[in-house]
């Protein structure tokens, strides 16, 4: 059945809910009616006028969709669409549609152009020496940032659309011949089966990629830097890029990843190993030290050296709270200050520091509400979390749990908690990779990049933990 250009434009306009940002126009070059429709919020009008409107008006060629495609818009990304469903789909995907009177179908011209952040260094992955670019919110830019590093035909990019309303583009990127095909298939299967109304950030996908029973620990790696994701692809991992998010997910995942930092690879291996030990200590400080301190104060003070015990006793005598309540109070106070400092406008940041450090901390101690050792222990624990920023949510929760364990069950409870949580981590096996590898199960070859790091020329094989293909990494 034949419809006029105006009828089609009107019909599409109504289908799009007569939205204010729908731009429709009919022109008649050489006396033939040509209809144009697009979303003005998504397409640069000036760009459109220069590249589409003017060439249509000025062309000497015959006015038809085929001529436009082959002779007029040769430099643009064009696709011919035939059905009304496709018309709508293309319009909402930031395409301009061109109709010609008397012809069926339309030309969809990709004009995606909306405000975009430039690749900049992510705040949590700063390096002293090394690449400073980070992913942006645009999946196409992110793919470009990755592809620029892999000048090979093995670079694969499978794209999916997830979300009933958002139709978010999700790219699954891997290196053919290195990544395990089973993992790739599994990722595609899991993501394809997601029936959700919308995906606004890659973290929405994260929960689908891990064991649904696991609520504390993660089984998916995250990164904001192309160099890190690039190195993970070389290890045989699969990257998942989501439009609208600068966070790229990678699977399979091991806890070791969070202990590693891109800086480690751009510095002296011995120094990198030392820093990794410090990070491991940081994890302990962040999670269990408040609990251990509390248990020593409450139950096992006999273990403490005498001088240390006297110092603590002097500092904590006359406190109105029990040691447990005191530490809980300081911890919650710190946590509130942290949340406030994240959301407060920057110019108020200084005020928060003054309120937090001086008024709450110093005055609290002087007033005898809290003790100096308590503040020191909690401050140490809070700061230590950021040696492994990717594990900050987990460590924060663990710190509270260990504080409660230490305050109620003493050291025995803390040891029990440590066994319980490591056992929980040990039972995770996302995409066939043990989360605690290469420590448990121990994979000797992968320990080369474990807590101790060997120079690059000694890392001759890809990590065995990930069950990847093509094990040889460096031929000597």
């Amino acid at each position: 059945m034949f419809f006029s250009v105006d009828q089609i434009l009107d019909s599409l306009y109504q289908k799009l809910g007569s939205s204010q940002d729908v731009y429709k126009k009919t022109i008649a070059p050489q006396g033939k009616r040509v209809g144009i429709i697009f979303l003005r919020s998504m397409i640069d009008k000036e760009l459109f006028t220069r590249n589409v409107l003017v060439p249509i008006i000025e062309t000497k060629e015959k006015i038809s969709l085929n001529t436009f495609k082959e002779k007029v818009f040769t430099a643009l990304e064009i696709e011919k669409v035939e059905t009304e469903q496709d018309y709508i789909k293309k319009i909402v995907e930031n395409n301009a549609l061109i109709f010609v009177e008397g012809e069926e179908g339309a030309l969809a011209i990709d004009f995606e152009n909306f405000p975009e952040r430039m690749p900049s260094e992510p705040p949590t992955s700063a390096v002293i020496q090394g690449p400073r670019e980070g992913f942006t919110e645009n999946v196409k830019t992110n793919i470009t940032l990755l592809r620029r590093r892999f000048k090979t035909q093995s670079f694969r990019n499978t794209q999916l659309e997830i979300g009933e309303y958002t139709k978010t583009k999700v790219s699954i990127v891997y290196l053919e011949g290195i990544a395990n095909k089973k993992v790739v298939k599994e990722v595609i299967k899991v993501l394809s089966s997601i029936k959700i109304d919308g995906v606004v950030d890659s973290h929405y996908l994260l929960s689908f990629l891990q064991d649904e029973k696991e609520v504390l620990f993660k089984e998916v790696g995250v990164s904001e830097k192309p160099d890190i994701v690039g190195s993970k692809l070389l290890e045989g991992k699969v990257a998942i890029l989501c439009d609208g998010s600068p966070i790229v997910l990678t699977v399979p995942y091991t806890v070791l990843e969070d202990l590693q930092n891109s800086n480690d690879y751009y510095t002296n291996p011995l120094y990198a190993s030392f820093i990794r030990v410090i990070r491991a200590l940081g994890i302990l400080l962040a999670s269990i030290v408040p609990g251990v301190y509390l248990s020593l104060r409450l139950f096992h003070y006999k273990i403490l050296p005498l001088k240390f015990l006297i110092t603590i006793s002097n500092a904590t005598q006359n406190l109105p709270f029990t040691p447990f309540l005191e530490l809980l109070f300081i911890l919650i106070l710190f946590q509130i200050l942290y949340e406030v400092s994240l959301r407060l406008p920057r110019y108020l940041g200084l005020a928060t520091s003054i309120v937090g450090a001086l008024i709450l901390g110093d005055t609290g101690v002087k007033a005898g509400l809290i003790s100096t050792p308590g503040v020191v222990i909690i401050a140490m624990s809070i700061i230590s979390i950021y040696v492994v920023p990717d594990q900050a949510p987990q460590l924060t929760v663990l710190r509270f749990i260990f504080l409660i364990l230490g305050g109620t069950l003493g050291l025995f409870g803390i040891v029990g908690g440590m066994i319980y949580f490591i056992n929980r981590l040990a039972s995770l096996n996302g995409f066939g990779t043990p989360t605690l590898a290469p420590f448990a199960p121990r994979i000797r070859e992968d320990l080369k990049d474990g807590v101790a790091k060997v120079p690059v020329y000694d890392m001759t094989t890809r990590p065995k933990s990930y069950n990847n293909k093509n094990k040889v990494r460096l031929k000597k």
Binding site: H300, P305, L306, L411, I419, R424, A426, S427, P441
Partner: protein, 360 residues
């Protein structure tokens, strides 16, 4: 796969079994009866244990697809096998109760004076149960993760103790007597039998080349560490040596080289705590598997509850303190242990030496 462990993890389990039961109370018990000769008793017993470990490994190599239960079933029939595994269940429960009563009194003496038995259960059972419920694979990996820290802790104890020894050889006061040593061994049989867990775990080990060697490596090195402990105790404490109930932590406490650091008893207490959790976990797992094999109930949660209930009731009603448990284990437990640790390995010699091929 959720219930499969590597040979390295099996070796670590064996090592944990060797350490945990023997570090707390056994040394002083043996020393009371044999003095320095208790080292020789230990050497003899270790030799025997290694040969039974070897027997079990050879049996697995011969029948890689069969469990001990299936092997026994083929030779002894269903009923007799079920009876044997019921005896196993009782054995594992008594070992568990023995470890827990010793551990409870150790912890109360050392660090947690206010702890009641219920607080002890509250600390221990949820963790042990979660560990058993998550399966052998997760248990194995967790043990593998912490093993290095346990070893470091124990070696520190030895080194710190050795650093404090001032004179050697003063502890030799009772001559070695083979009859008395064997008598001591028989009385304390229930503290040995570290291989018993393998009756249950053997079919959960992933069989690869050299799996037996891997397990034996852990067994022998653990025994060496234990013997070093023995020597350290005797040389450090001289005539009292093993009579020290809290010998392990006392090594740290009395170590003279640590004056500037202060008391660091925690170095000895922490490995012990880990070992307690683990051995309790391994024993609970074995108990649950026995219930599954004998009754056919596959729901692990129910089996864990049964093991917990029996253990808690026994500890509250019968074995109210470490002395009662020790008396029971030396008087009655030894007969049970005699069957599990000597009788059954002898029975297992039949399928090992037999030329009959068994099918899974």
């Amino acid at each position: 796969m959720r219930d499969k462990i590597s040979s390295r993890q099996a070796g670590i389990f064996a090592s944990i079994m060797i350490f945990s039961g023997k570090l707390l109370l056994l040394p002083s018990l043996l020393f009371d009866q044999n003095r320095l000769a208790s080292i020789l008793v230990l050497l003899i017993l270790f030799g025997l244990e290694i040969s039974i470990f070897y027997l079990l490994i050879k049996l697995k190599e011969k029948h890689p697809n069969l469990s001990i239960y299936s092997i026994l079933q083929k030779y002894l029939g269903k009923i007799l096998t079920k009876i044997i595994f019921s005896i196993f269940f009782i054995y594992f429960i008594f070992i568990l109760v023995n470890i827990l009563t010793e551990s409870y009194s150790f912890l109360r003496d050392e660090i947690f004076n206010e702890a009641t038995i219920f607080l002890f259960f509250l600390c221990l059972l949820p963790v042990v149960d979660a560990m058993v419920y998550s399966g052998a694979r997760a248990m194995g990996r967790t043990a593998e993760f912490y093993y290095i820290f346990i070893i470091i802790g124990l070696v520190c104890c030895i080194l710190l103790g050795v650093g404090s020894i001032q004179k050697f050889g003063e502890a030799v006061d009772v001559p070695f007597n083979i009859g008395s040593s064997l008598g001591t061994y028989f009385n304390h049989l229930a503290w040995f039998g570290d291989f018993a867990f393998l009756f249950i775990f053997l079919d959960k080990i992933e069989i690869k080349n050299g799996f037996g060697r891997q397990i034996l490596k852990f067994v022998i090195s653990s025994m060496i560490i234990l013997l070093l402990f023995f020597f350290t105790y005797i040389l450090l404490y001289r005539s009292t040596s093993f009579a020290h109930r809290e010998a392990l932590s006392n090594i740290i406490q009395f170590a003279t080289k640590l004056g500037n650091v202060g008391k660091i008893t925690i170095i000895s207490v922490l490995p012990i705590m880990f070992l307690i959790y683990y051995q309790a976990g391994i024993m609970t797992y074995c108990g649950c598997e026995c219930i599954r094999l004998v009754t056919g109930i596959k729901n692990r949660a129910w089996n864990i509850i049964v093991v917990n209930l029996v253990t808690v009731l026994l500890m509250i009603i019968v074995f109210v303190n470490s002395q009662v448990t020790t008396d029971f284990m030396t008087a009655v437990g030894k007969w049970l242990a005699l069957f599990v640790e000597i009788g059954l390995p002898l029975i297992l010699l039949i399928p090992l030496l037999s030329k009959r091929r068994l099918r899974a």
